[in-house]
């Protein structure tokens, strides 16, 4: 289980004519949780979108399970096993939980729908309880879990999460982190962007630190967590200056 699932080779991506992530390289190993941290505007979300393919890709390579995927549209990447849960509310608010899960099966053949939904609702019994509730009426934390479940239906081998704990109370943040851990325990590789750095680092194996679109630091989560430079990185100071 130690071969890289995802390899980024000097990825440059952004929006319009404006590259935000520059020359970013890293490798993610199977079954690990990696936290991507950095100040506001460091390019974390842009990097996740680039891996899923919903923004403009300038140059570099994204190798997923030994296959370059950077020219594929998002749905093709999804089929190959890259799942992405964007920031903010990302479900169908006027559909019931059940219908949302059925939409999650969109790319699966019809015969597999019931099995997939059964598997995910076993993982999150809550969703079965709220089956007929409209997604827009769930609490923030429940919606976040629904969104993760919608992506997990397809059994992705890589899960990209953009700020899953945003706007949640500490109690619900704890729920979400516990859920991420359970997902990773099933063998899924997770790359998560988090503002709750301490909470996220605690459940992570690796940490990636971004500054101004570039990789600034990479290492085991336990080491990064105690590194004094992180405080500076997150509070937006000039890292080179502080380090020197």
């Amino acid at each position: 289980m130690n071969s890289p699932v995802l390899e980024l080779i000097s990825v440059t991506a952004g929006y319009g004519d404006n590259p935000i992530v520059r020359d970013f390289s890293t490798r993610l190993r199977a079954g690990t949780i990696t936290t991507l941290i950095g100040g506001n505007g460091a390019g974390k979300s842009t990097l996740l979108r680039a891996i899923y393919g919903t923004n403009r890709f300038f140059s570099g390579q994204i190798v997923f399970k030994d296959e370059p995927v950077e020219r594929l549209p998002p749905w093709e990447r999804l089929k190959r096993g890259i799942g992405f849960v964007p920031q903010g509310r990302c479900n169908f608010p006027a559909m019931s939980v059940g219908e949302n899960l059925k939409m999650g099966c969109y790319t699966l053949p019809a015969a597999k729908h019931d099995a997939a939904i059964g598997r995910v609702t076993d993982l999150f019994p809550l969703l079965r309880e709220r089956w007929r509730t409209e997604a827009g009426n769930l609490s923030g934390g429940q919606q976040q879990i629904l969104e993760m479940a919608m992506v997990l239906l397809l059994e992705p081998s890589l899960l990209l999460l953009d700020e899953p704990s945003l706007g949640l109370s500490p109690r619900m943040q704890g729920d979400v982190f516990a859920t991420v851990q359970r997902i990773a325990a099933t063998g899924v590789t997770v790359l998560v962007v988090e503002q709750n750095v301490r909470g996220a680092l605690l459940i992570s194996d690796l940490a990636l630190v971004m500054e101004q679109g570039r990789k600034f630091m990479e290492g085991p989560a336990a080491e990064v967590r105690t590194d004094p430079r992180i405080r500076q990185a997150y509070l937006g100071g000039n890292i080179e200056q502080t380090a020197a």
Partner: protein, 295 residues
Amino acid sequence: MTIDAVYILQLTLNGLALGLLYALIAVGLSLIFGVMEIINFAHGELLMLGAYAMTFALPVVGLLYWPALAAAILLVMLAGLLVYEILLARLRPDEFERSILITLGLSIILIHTVQYFFTATPRIVDTQYGFDGVEIGNIRITLTRLIGAAAALVAFAGLYSTLRFTQFGRAMRAIAQNREAALMVGIRPRVVARNAMVLAAGLCGLGGAALAPIQLVTPYMGQFLIFKAFALVTIGGLGNIPGAVVAAVVLGLLESVIGGFFASAWQEGSVFVVMIVALLLRPEGLFKRGGMRVG
């Protein structure tokens, strides 16, 4: 007094038939707006194409109603596909004004091309049913009218279950509700937009073909209907499909009843008055995206 009751019943039935027809167009507009955030100005012309297709298909199949209807619907669906692929696929979702102007151009082209080849002379269509009708008491309804209304009802039932129970239809609602979430679950927006356009065109084809034996077929028949449908979606709100159906039927009834008792200017004017009132009452509630609902 019995005469009056019969008269009102007759007006009511006419109104229902009329309303169902408006609803066919309005629902198509709603679908397209929900999925692509654009307005198809040439929607009425698709209906007109359906009517013309019916007039030309009927003699070919020996005046048989159903095969001609099927042929007309298929032809209009094909037209819808072409319109999407050639024109609409190039638009981005935020180009609302541009979509109106492009489809306005298309509408002009279609009307005058038809007029150029087939002249503006209204056409009368005969079917195997001729002017056969059903009589209930003192009320007489022609068979073609009855079939038209029934076909529209069946079409709505079909549309409802498609949107509600199939992945094909659900995907359209999904895109209307949250574009980013749709990408998250692997929906391809262009494929869904194309499906919505073809489906909406099919509804128009049905409307046009069902209308052909009932009223005169002219190149301009679509224009008046589309204006009504526009007013309707302004009143009922886009994206709310049962709402559009209800509003359409109510409007049909209103028009029919007002037209039965007052000058026809009032009949048409009532639509506009209702619309202005609706705008005053809830200016921001109309055209709200993010919630194509089916129930």
